[in-house]
Every structure is written in C-alpha cells, then in structure tokens.
C-alpha cells in the first residue's frame, strides 16, 4: 500500500471526512511531511473506492461549496489494520536489529 493511501485510510479511521478535512488530517498525521494536493487526493480516493476500501457516506453544501464525505469500509478497516501490523512488525524487526548491532559494536 502506498503511503498516501495508508495515510488517507488512517485519516478516515477516526470517522468520515470530506476532501479538505482529509488533506489537513493527513498533514497532521504525517507531521507535515505529506501534503496532499487536490489532484493527488482525488486520484487516490477514486482508487480506494474502486478497491472498496472507502465509500461515500453523504454530501452537503456548506457556504455554497459541495462537500462529499468519505468513510472507511469494513474491508478498508481490515486492510488498514493488516498494513499497520505489517509496518509495525517491520519497524520492530528493524529496531531490534539496530539495537543488537549497536550492542555488538
């Protein structure tokens, strides 16, 4: 799973969000390292919808602007959990080996 997709799913794990909300949340989650642009965001959202990882919850008009809210699907939750576990396992292995290498040095 690519990092933007992972971060978008992570943003939606807390609850449904609209496009701009996802952008700001992804920036917050990544501590400013990943700043999604609109074109990139909507390409990713379309791909995630096709993979049935997210779905549209509802839409509303705020100050004359259309907002469409996306939410995580059940499959999206499962895949996010699996990806998070995989990343965690990799990180744990890396840290363990680094500690061992430093201990030997």
């Amino acid at each position: 799973m690519q990092e933007p997709s992972f971060l978008i799913l992570t943003a939606l794990a807390a609850g449904m969000q609209h496009g701009y909300g996802i952008i700001t949340d992804v920036a917050r989650i990544s501590e400013g390292r990943v700043r999604l642009r609109a074109g990139t965001l909507y390409a990713a959202l379309d791909r995630l919808r096709a993979d049935e990882l997210i779905e549209v919850d509802h839409e509303e008009v705020v100050d004359g602007r259309l907002r469409r809210y996306y939410k995580l699907s059940e499959e999206g939750e499962q895949q996010l959990a699996a990806e998070a576990a995989r990343l965690q396992a990799n990180a744990t292995a890396a840290i363990t080996r680094l500690k061992a290498a430093r201990g030997l040095a």
């Binding site: 642009r37 609109a38 390409a43 779905e55 919850d57 907002r67």
Partner: protein, 343 residues
Amino acid sequence: MNRPEELARHYRQLLALYPRAYRHDHEEEMLAVLLDSARPGQEFPRAVESLDLIWGALRMRLRLGQVYHGNIGSDALAAFSLLAPLLLAGPVLATLLLHLVHGPSAPDPYFREHFPIISETYYARIATARGLKLAMAGQLAVAIAVVLRMRRLALAVITVILTLWIIDAGYGFRSLDTFDVFFLTCYGLEATALIASPGPRRGLQLLSWRSGAVLAAAAAALTGTWTLTMRLAYGGAFTSSGDAEVNALALLALVILAVGVFLLSHLGRYVVVLFAGMLCPYVLYLGWVVGVVPVPTPTEALTIQYVPPVLALCAIVAIALHRNRRFPDHPDGTTAIKGTRPT
C-alpha cells in the same frame, strides 16, 4: 470580479482538463477543496497546484492505474472486462478437457450426442493448430485473472499471446498455425475493455442477482449461438435431424429465458433487443431447414458469428444503464453515487 471568484475561475480552467464525465461528478467537490486550501488573498493557482491538477487530469484521461466511478460507458466496459472472458471460458474449458480425455480423434457420433454445444470444428482443429491451443489456454488464463480481479495480469496474458501471434505471422505462421479471427477479435475487445475501464474489480461491484440472471441467460445464448454459427461458418453439420432438434430446443429455452428475465429484471426493451438478436442465428437455421432461407455463404455465416459477442456487450451496457438509473442525478448537477444521501 473579486479575488475568490477570479481564483475559482482559474481553478475551473485547470479542472476543464479532466474528462467531462469525471468533471460532472467531481468538479464542484474538487473546487471546494482547492478554494479551502487557498491562502488568503491568493488570486492564481500556485505552480505546484497547477502541475498536480494537470498530472491528475492526464492520468484520469489515460486511466492508467486510475479508476473512475459513475460513468455509464466506463461501467459497461468494466462489466464486459469481467464477463467476456468468463463467457468464453466455458466452451473453451469444455473443449480442452474433452480433448485431454478423448484425444484428437473423438468419435463424431459420441461427440455430437453428448456434447452438442461445443464446436466440432474447433475440437477437430485443436489437434493440429498450436495457435488455437495457445489462444484457448490464454483465454482460460485471462478468465482466471479477471476472477481474481487482476486486471494487469489479464492484460499481460493477452499481450503475450498477441505478441507471439504477431511474431509468428512475421515468420509465415510456421509455428502457431494462422490467426484465428474469432479469438483475435475477442482478445481485442477484452484488451480494450481492460484498458479503457476500471476493470473486473469494478465489474464485480456492478453485478446484482438480476444482472446475474440476465448474464447467465446471455452466457447460455452466447455458447449455443457460438456453436451454431461455427457450424454455419464451416458447414457440413446440418444434415442430421438431431441438429434441428437441438437447435429448436435451444431456441425454445432462449425464448423462455428471455420472457423470464424480461418479467423479473425490468430491463424492458434492452432484453427484448438483446434476445431478439441472439435468436437471429437460430431463426436463420430453422428457416434453412424448412427451405425458407437459402444456405448462408461462409462470409454471411462468419458475419453472424460476431452477433453474440456484440450482443453480450449490449447486455452489459443495458445492465449498466439500468443500475445507473437507480441513482439519478442530483438537482445541483452532480451525479449521485451508490451510498450517497442527497442533501
């Protein structure tokens, strides 16, 4: 014109690069995100934003790795990319299995009695034509790939087979027999659908039990019609009374299926058109049996051969149209999406 309106106008110019159908669904939403993201007093899109939108529009137009929901034609092709290989896999698999079990010289009476639905012509040719074997095996591989929702793998299989065929053509078909027009056409249609649509994953999303019933009927009609038209094309198999009985029963089954699907699915005229076209070869055959229709020439018969695949595509389009109609457009001009609650 104030600054926000000026900025919105510039953003719309960039969004105009996206495909029309995509804009219809996403333009207002994307514009809202762009305006929300704009800095105070900003009058023009920033360079990085412009590049991002241009790149996004380009990817969406090329549809490479991109998926777009909501477009009828795209949905129809997505369903077709899933179903066309599956429709063809049935008779192909049966023919290959028969060939493995009985060898190349299966007795004709046995074959005709027990497996009238499978093309005798293909069965006979498969023993000698390596290109045909390759095409049939490839068709099975494509079917497996689309069931697993692996669009790129399916495309890779088609590309490999077509490449081998083309290379062999350069050497005068020394290794792979000759081009098989039917399989070549099928591969072409499948590749087009796989490239120009979100692919089988989206196709699976579109299917419901009603569309499944239509497609099961279409598959039965396609298989039967394929067999019949192959016989028409290559001739020599219409002299036995058994053929007339088999095809009369197939005709009756199709009519019953058509009426059943018509009543259950509410697809209306689409089903009528679909099945009327699929019945065409059977009617021609029965007309020939009773002496009303002259015996078709090989060219005419080959033309009829293309009716079933085209009609299968029509079935998919009809289903896609039917599904889309269940989620009509919003009053504000945006297309409703499954799961959306209009405000």
